[in-house]
């Protein structure tokens, strides 16, 4: 039984295709991490799953219900914790949860025990009667997460749950997420920019870019696929660069090469044997190596290997007319 299932999901705004024919499924009880650069289509996908947007094409079901045909049933079965904190500052912590409980039609006699339960879980019981305006950023986030849990949803959506929080708070939030996962047996679907977070929390990860899912696997498998070692080298001159690349690719242990001007990143399974061969090739071609290093791959490397180096949406010039047209389409 899948908690989330989607087939040929497409969402376009005019000629901008934000989500391009994606199909995947998330198993019941899984923590699934959704990664991708800014503008990759993660948020749009999540908005479709949470019934905030209708897909242009394809279908998706969440908690066993179709997001287009039965949006109300989907809403009854999901919790959605947004990226920005959405708690009411003027209300107390407890009043915020009471509001959330009422929005989610929790039976009257269950409201108070449930609020006590989640307050206990996120360790905010002693501050519950104070106005949220006095809470720190981390406390607000915890309250927001608690609000998403109150009605014991089948699927919990967390949109970048630790963005803008300090390291201690971030680790604390991870603990809560793990606790929630065990205590309520929920499927958790989260987006994040922090590879460490995905590595730490997720059973499986999907990397999305340009509206497409590039890869889905466990964090461990992804790292293994890159080989267990990474060699980074900076070379001095670009003469004979192409033949250098060709020769490097002939080395049997090298699985993948990323190039960024004079910097090369080689993914390999046997770095200690590869390094002497690199030196051999470079001296034959008269290429000077400025520096060389051997490291273990992190999920960051996996991410970069699938999405490339360039920064998104900041590198193109701001085109007012284009942006305007895009916003207009979004509003239709």
């Amino acid at each position: 039984m899948y908690s989330i299932e989607t087939k040929s999901l497409t969402k376009s705004f005019g000629d901008l295709v934000a989500v391009n024919d994606i199909s995947f499924s998330v198993e019941k009880g899984e923590i699934f991490g959704f990664l991708g650069p800014n503008g990759a289509g993660k948020s749009t996908t999540m908005m479709i799953f949470t019934t905030l947007l209708k897909p242009t094409n394809g279908n998706a079901s969440v908690g066993g219900f179709d997001v287009i045909k039965n949006p109300k049933q989907v809403r009854e079965n999901i919790g959605f914790v947004q990226q920005e904190t959405t708690v009411d500052e003027y209300l107390s912590g407890r009043e915020n949860l009471l509001l959330q409980a009422k929005l989610n039609h929790i039976p009257k006699n269950e409201i108070n025990p449930r609020i006590d339960e989640v307050l206990d879980l996120i360790e905010l019981s002693d501050k519950q009667h104070e106005a949220v305006v006095t809470y720190s950023g981390g406390m607000r986030k915890r309250l927001d997460i608690a609000g998403g849990l109150l009605h014991h949803p089948k699927v919990l959506f967390l949109d970048e749950p630790t963005v803008g929080l300090d390291i201690q708070t971030r680790r604390k939030i991870w603990q809560y997420i793990k606790k929630i996962h065990i205590q309520f047996d929920m499927t958790i679907f989260l987006t994040t920019h922090y590879m460490e977070e995905a590595d730490n929390l997720c059973d499986r990860i999907g990397i999305m870019d340009h509206g497409k899912i590039q890869v889905i696997d466990t964090p461990q498998n992804m790292k293994n696929d890159l080989g267990n070692e990474i060699i980074s080298l900076v070379i001095d001159n670009t003469e004979n660069f192409d033949s250098f690349l060709v020769e490097l690719k002939k080395i049997q242990f090298i699985k993948k090469i990323n190039e960024d001007n004079s910097k090369l990143t080689l993914f390999t399974s046997n770095g200690t044997e590869v390094i002497p061969q690199i030196f051999q090739i470079s001296s034959n071609l008269g290429i000077k190596i400025n520096s060389i290093s051997l490291t273990q791959p992190t999920l960051d490397d996996v991410f970069i290997s699938y999405t490339g180096h360039e920064i998104r949406d900041d590198n193109s010039k701001y085109n007012r007319r284009h942006e305007h047209a895009k916003m207009k389409r979004l509003r239709q």
Partner: protein
């Protein structure tokens, strides 16, 4: 139906909680109408002969007090929808939209809260009016007057919610509100009797629901009927206005919030 009422009440409860917690807001909203009734009421006190020429016996300030009560209702309710924009910007709206409550319940809850808040503000202005010497021939009339103010404010909160749902920015919203609020107040017999308006202005004023509300409240407060419009017609116009506005607001709100902000 029951669920819609429950859901609307949830939103209503939240809006009132927020109102209750912002004590400074309660006072700030009183300043403008208080200035109107105290300052303008006294500046124009010499116009008493004008008022008497159409059958009023009392002071000018007693004549214009109903106008200021309605002014309070107009401005409190027409500004009231602005938090719709904040809700959309800061995610509360998405939180409500991904929960099982219906979209129109959100609009109805907001409107009822706004109209009750407007009526509360108006009742504070009635208090100020009483304090500076305005008298009610029949104090029991305050009950139907509050009923009318609540109903009327519901209509104006409909305008506010409609504008807030369509506006994409604070600037557009405030621009529209300013465009509507003051003219609707000025094109009514709030400050001077309908009979004294030039013909063409009187025609415009008779298309304005504010006119009927003020005439009705004034008749209940002072016992003098004016402009030859029967009470039932005024009540009918107010009801029609409210039903139309609440309907339009619920429809527009439901349509607009389904689009990305």
């Amino acid at each position: 139906m029951n669920t819609i009422m429950y859901d609307a009440y949830t939103i209503f409860w939240r809006e009132l909680k927020r109102y209750k917690k912002s004590r400074s807001g309660v006072l700030i909203r009183l300043i403008q109408p208080a200035i109107w009734i105290i300052v303008v009421g006294n500046i124009f006190s010499e116009t008493q002969p004008l008022i008497q020429s159409v059958g009023f016996e009392g002071e000018y300030i007693e004549f214009m007090a109903p106008g200021v009560i309605i002014l309070t209702a107009i401005f409190t309710s027409i500004f009231g929808g602005v938090n719709t924009l904040w809700d959309r910007r800061y995610g509360f709206m998405n939180k409500a939209l991904t929960s099982p409550i219906s979209r129109s319940a959100i609009a109805i809850g907001k409107m009822s809260a706004i109209s009750l808040i407007a009526a509360l503000q108006a009742s504070l202005i009635i208090g100020i009016a009483l304090a500076i010497g305005v008298t009610f021939p029949n104090p029991l009339m305050i009950i139907p007057i509050m009923g009318i103010v609540i109903l009327f404010s519901l209509g104006f909160s409909g305008i506010s919610v409609t504008l807030a749902a369509t506006a994409k920015s604070q600037e557009t919203f405030w621009g529209m509100i300013n465009l509507l609020g003051m003219p609707l107040f000025m094109l009514s017999p709030a400050l001077f009797p309908l009979e004294l308006l030039p013909d063409w202005l009187a025609v415009v004023a008779k298309l304005n629901p504010v006119t009927y509300t003020i005439l009705l409240v004034r008749e209940l407060m002072t016992g003098v009927s004016e402009g030859g419009i029967p009470i039932l017609i005024s009540v009918g116009v107010i009801f029609a206005f409210v039903v139309a506005m609440v309907g339009i607001a619920s429809y527009v709100f439901t349509r607009e919030v389904n689009k990305p902000f």
